[in-house]
């Protein structure tokens, strides 16, 4: 806002989603264009076009989203930008809510995209503003790299003035072939890019404000970036040591000269960064030139872990060990022993979740069959857990159908791909085209809960409104899939277990491709709507006379509202959403609504 951003587009992903949610809530008021795009690549392209039209643009994504956008980004640095353009990559060391803990800093280096790494909430704001100015000055997109502990942090921020924005720009080709990249033209632009990066190194990275030096008169130096800098500063205070510190706010382009001066007279350099070695690699290269006997303490030396997230405690311990200090650390072993009595709380599907019903039907139909079941990225990935133990594979967006293509060729086992609606639009479509074209033997189940649920209910191309609430054309998945050439398409309400099982049985016996659209709105959305419209949620109950404690509802269905008292099963009315899907699971018809009331299946409220 303070940079006067005009156009923002993104695809949700933890821990970057909140940025979009925040912008969506004020977009209209400030005249900022905002949308959730079909995927990160499309979002990036929207931002690029805005920049080429002279507007300021922003896109943000989780670290793995950068993989999707990378194709566009790698050539964008050749073309350059006109209006300032900023890409926020939200890394997730420890893979709290991700499939890996890849480090986006490698992308800065690989795509030659200059990068800033904020350490505090205040810097997160200031650096974005700075990045917009620099982006415009050097005509290059700038990467802002954050990590979970920065993204999910609240602190005090001094605000500046909000700049007005422009709304519309105009596409102008500043020079011939500016935005065309091929052969000799690309080579020429590559050379130009190298020169820009060299200028940014000299004028920004070597300068005073992003890569800062603190302290003097010590033979020990500490270099740290991002949240690790905050850990490092506090660790230094706690240990009461005198060290020189280099705060690395821009590690690409790397401030070679400044860093050389910093390490020239040091005996020991401590590198604090997560999750990969990035500064450490540069440090080794520089040290070889200017101070070959420098002792480098980091991941390679074994003082810091090479995987996972850093914490203040871990940084204190690493530094203390490296410097031979006797710092009293709490006896973690005893504490671990105590805490281990509290088992981890594995995430479960929500009460009323339609995916649970789909999983239940699929598990019943497959029985013990040796099928290859492929999961994807979304809530339904939890179907790999008990009681379903269904998905054997969960990798990256859209992989389920892609892998299914390969398995249908490589094995004779039944092949089932599970994919959510948003994930299908994001990356499942090309893989399904391949399956149609080759008539692959597989069952694709599109778990259509009418929203991007896992990240907190963002709209996608299949819903009839945009991020800011304006009407949008909803793509009908059934028509779309038929249009792609799939002949066997079924739309089933997952709460209707009987029908779902029949359709699954039929599809699994086929030689070719079939698509089942399991359509039922995310229960959280339905409940919210029912509550808003002053409707009532009528929960279900277990008739204690009929319940024989066979536990089928728990071992086959496993809704969080079900509680085992040891003699009977009960339903916790404060958790139950009243979907009634468990009623058809009970062999003794012991599960009933607490009163006549609402029946989602019958009344179709969720569809």
């Amino acid at each position: 806002m303070e940079a006067g951003v005009d156009v923002v587009s993104a695809y949700p992903g933890t821990p970057s989603t909140e940025i979009g949610e925040a912008i969506a809530s004020i977009a209209e008021k400030l005249g900022i264009y905002f949308d959730w795009a079909a995927n990160e690549k499309v979002a990036t392209e929207i931002a690029v076009a805005a920049s080429w039209s002279g507007l300021r643009s922003l896109t943000m994504m989780k670290h793995v989203g950068v993989n999707v956008a990378a194709d566009t980004l790698f050539t964008l640095t050749y073309s350059g930008v006109r209006g300032g353009m900023v890409v926020v990559a939200a890394d997730d060391p420890q893979a709290h809510s991700s499939q890996n803990e890849q480090d986006s800093r490698h992308y800065a280096l690989a795509a030659e995209m200059p990068m800033l790494e904020p350490s505090t909430p205040q810097e997160a704001k200031d650096f974005v503003k700075r990045a917009f100015d620099l982006s415009e000055e050097f005509r290059l997109p700038f990467l802002i790299r954050s990590t979970t502990r920065l993204s999910h942090q609240r602190g005090m921020v001094l605000l500046g003035e909000v700049l007005p924005n422009r709304k519309k720009g105009r596409f102008v080709e500043d020079e011939p072939y500016r935005y065309i990249q091929v052969g000799r033209i690309a080579i020429r632009h590559h050379k130009e890019l190298n020169d820009k990066i060299e200028r940014i190194r000299r004028e920004v990275s070597e300068g005073e404000d992003v890569n800062m030096l603190e302290g003097e008169g010590s033979s020990v130096g500490v270099v740290a970036s991002g949240v690790c800098y905050a850990h490092a500063v506090e660790a230094i205070r706690k240990l009461g040591i005198k060290v020189k510190v280099m705060k690395m706010g821009m590690s690409y382009p790397f401030p070679e000269e400044k860093f050389s001066e910093f390490v020239r007279d040091l005996d020991t350099l401590i590198v604090v960064e997560e999750p990969d070695s990035f500064v450490e690699l540069h440090a080794r290269a520089v040290a070889k030139e200017v101070n070959p006997s420098l002792r480098i303490v980091g991941k390679k030396s074994g003082h810091f872990p090479s995987v996972g997230e850093y914490s203040l405690g871990l940084v204190i311990k690493g530094m203390a060990t490296a410097l031979g200090l006797n710092y009293k650390v709490p006896d973690t072993e005893i504490m671990d022993k105590v805490s281990s009595r509290a088992p981890p709380r594995n995430p479960t599907l929500c009460p009323g979740c339609p995916h649970r019903s789909t999983g239940y039907a699929l598990k019943r139909v497959l029985g013990g069959k040796d099928a290859v079941i492929l999961g994807d990225i979304g809530c339904y990935a939890l179907l790999f857990e008990k009681p379903f133990s269904l998905a054997k594979v969960s990798h990256a967006m859209g992989c389920s159908i892609g892998f299914a293509n390969g398995f249908s060729i490589s094995t004779d086992q039944p092949v089932v791909a599970l994919i959510g609606d948003s994930t299908f639009f994001h990356a499942g479509v090309p893989a399904l085209l391949d399956a149609v074209h080759h008539n692959r033997r597989m069952v694709v189940i599109i778990l259509d809960n009418r929203i991007t649920a896992m990240t907190g209910h963002q709209p996608h191309p299949g819903v009839s409104y945009t991020a800011t609430g304006t009407p949008a054309k909803a793509i009908d998945i059934e028509k779309f899939v038929r249009g792609m050439g799939v002949e066997d398409v079924y739309v089933v309400d997952p709460y209707d277990h009987e029908k779902m099982e029949a359709v699954l049985r039929e599809c699994l016996n086929k030689e070719g491709l079939s698509v089942i659209i399991a359509r039922r709105e995310c229960a959280l959305l339905t409940v919210r709507r029912v509550r808003r419209s002053k409707g009532r949620i009528v929960s279900y109950r277990v008739d204690p006379e009929k319940c024989r404690h066979c536990r089928v509802c728990i071992t086959m269905f496993g809704c969080p509202a079900l509680k085992d008292t040891g003699e009977k099963v009960e339903i916790d009315p404060s958790i139950c959403f009243g979907c009634g899907a468990c009623a058809s699971v009970c062999p003794f018809e012991a599960i009933l609504p607490t009163e006549g009331g609402l029946n989602w299946l019958r009344d179709g409220l969720g569809v």
Binding site: H152, R154, L158, H231, V233, V338, S339, A342
Partner: protein, 209 residues
């Protein structure tokens, strides 16, 4: 920007904060209001003129996961509290108290709600939770227990359990009650304010009953 959007005030913001350091761990299960609780404490600290930092782990909170917030009041840099350094813990659940007890310093205290939530993986035999009485015994040394759920039920709304725990914890924090009341005014919707203020008071008085 963050402030505007979350409605967090920075009225009493002083650049460096006073020379005080007080670390609070707030933990519980998704849906127990851990995030709101940490925000109220942060607001109260801000209103008292201290600098504050909040960092939370809540990825899968919606799905009955464990939620933990680090609230750092006063002079600090890192967003997270190291093990063995927290001055106070507010736990909405006994199992969660046990999971995070390692954060407490030797002098640290814990205020623990007498709730022990098990969930479906427990019934499925995946992760079996121990008997609550055993957990209580493990926590006993440095914990004060409060049956906040019953107190909340008496007030007619189970949702204010968290504020009752806050009320019970106020005496261990270097912040005045008035600041917590002001913080509630900022953090909760108008129509629930009275109820929350009552809950705060109820918690505060719970030790004498």
């Amino acid at each position: 920007m963050w402030y505007l959007l979350t409605g967090m005030s920075c009225r009493s913001h002083k650049e460096e904060g006073r020379e005080l350091k007080f670390d609070v761990i707030v933990c519980g299960v998704g849906g127990q209001g851990v995030v709101l609780l940490s925000r109220v404490i942060a607001e109260a600290a801000l209103l008292s003129g201290y600098s504050v930092r909040v960092s939370e782990r809540r990825g899968l909170a919606q799905r009955e996961g464990s939620v933990c917030s680090h609230v750092r009041i006063g002079r600090c840099f890192s967003p997270t509290i190291p093990l063995g350094h927290a001055d106070l813990m507010l736990a909405m659940d006994m199992y969660e108290a046990l999971r995070h007890i390692g954060y407490l310093s030797d002098e640290g205290k814990a205020v623990v709600n007498l709730s022990a939530k098990v969930h479906i993986p427990h019934h499925l035999g995946i992760n079996v939770f121990p008997d609550p009485s055993r957990v209580k015994a493990l926590l006993n040394e440095r914990s004060l227990f409060i049956d906040a759920e019953s107190l909340a039920a008496r007030l007619g709304n189970a949702k204010v359990t968290n504020i009752i725990v806050l009320g019970a914890s106020m005496r261990f924090m270097p912040l005045r009650r008035k600041k917590f009341e002001e913080a509630l005014r900022i953090a909760v919707p108008e129509r629930y304010l009275d109820l929350n203020l009552k809950a705060l008071r109820e918690g505060e008085l719970s030790w004498s009953t």
